[in-house]
Symmetry: C2
Subunit: 158 residues, 2 copies
DNA sequence: CCCCGTTCGTTCACCTTTCAACTTCTTAGG
DNA sequence: CCTAAGAAGTTGAAAGGTGAACGAACGGGG
């Protein structure tokens, strides 16, 4: 019994769009990372600071933070250890669930956020947002939305 | 003298588009990587195989390959060593420049390409291309093009 | 109550990436 | 020619990431 079917290769337009997308991502990541370097932060660090600073009481459970930043628990654990050593966050026990831990943003971490955020936003503008018209940005958003939804629904499947 | 200016925060629409873009990238990378895992390949491996299979004589200079895949020479060197051990590629001396080396796609590498490509393309379709209309894909491409150009022009600046 | 399956977070061993030092070869200038 | 600047690749150590295994704690069904 034959289970193979002819592969549906991408059309030229599709391939071109796809490759541009991949390329933009890589180059963008590179630039943003580079722009954060003077502050001794990685995008990962920054992302965690953002999540914490936007959360209630400036704290989040490890698991929630891992889910929010799309990393494994293991990786987050290492990451938080590093950031703890840098004084940006601190671990705190969770009263209601004694297995659990909070990552708490320190005053130092907060101050770092305040100092770095304007530069990071400027970086995002310079390399992304300000390079396209509001209409194009809106189209882009519209195109990506169903993809985002699909991918969210796939999280941790077979 | 005052050099600071008020930061140009992102509008809600901008922020939303930006975050979706970042999120899609991370999740997409995760899925594509996962779909290649059964073949014992990473996206990095695959990307290199693509570049080689599309190049003249199925070979590329290390430097060119590093530039094409946006990685450091060091990283590529390690990467090629691994792929060489896996039998996918082989190093070959360059006659015209005795400092130089070619990475050459082996028959095994070629065969792996042929076997894996349909699955990878299907994966790209499933998680990206087929989720949006051709018009939306075209809009997306149009929006990303100026960004790609800008970023290419930034490669290796201060 | 008290298991037993689950969740939480860390740890360990292993792999990948980064960074700087290094070798070898090329090339432009004197 | 010869030399000095610099490009091509590699290397090895240190840092970062992955996945499985683990101990501790929760919590629902006998």
């Amino acid at each position: 019994m034959e289970t193979e079917t002819a592969p549906q290769w991408l059309t030229d337009e599709e391939q071109c769009a796809w490759r541009t997308h991949v390329e933009v991502n890589r180059m963008l990541t590179y630039q943003l990372e580079k722009d954060l370097q003077p502050f001794n932060l990685t995008m990962n660090d920054y992302d965690i600071l953002v999540h914490l600073s936007e959360s209630d009481e400036l704290r989040m459970r490890m698991s929630d933070l891992a889910a929010a930043t799309l990393q494994s628990k293991s990786r987050l654990s290492h990451q938080i250890t590093r950031m703890e050593n840098a004084g940006l966050v601190r671990r705190e026990n969770c009263e209601s669930d004694r297995r659990g831990l909070y990552t708490v943003l320190t005053e130092d971490g907060m101050e770092t956020m305040r100092r770095v955020a304007p530069h990071h936003v400027a970086s995002v503008r310079r390399h992304f947002v300000d390079l396209v018209s509001p209409e194009a940005l809106s189209e882009l958003h519209k195109a990506l939305t169903p993809i985002a939804e699909h991918l969210r629904s796939q999280r941790g499947k077979p």
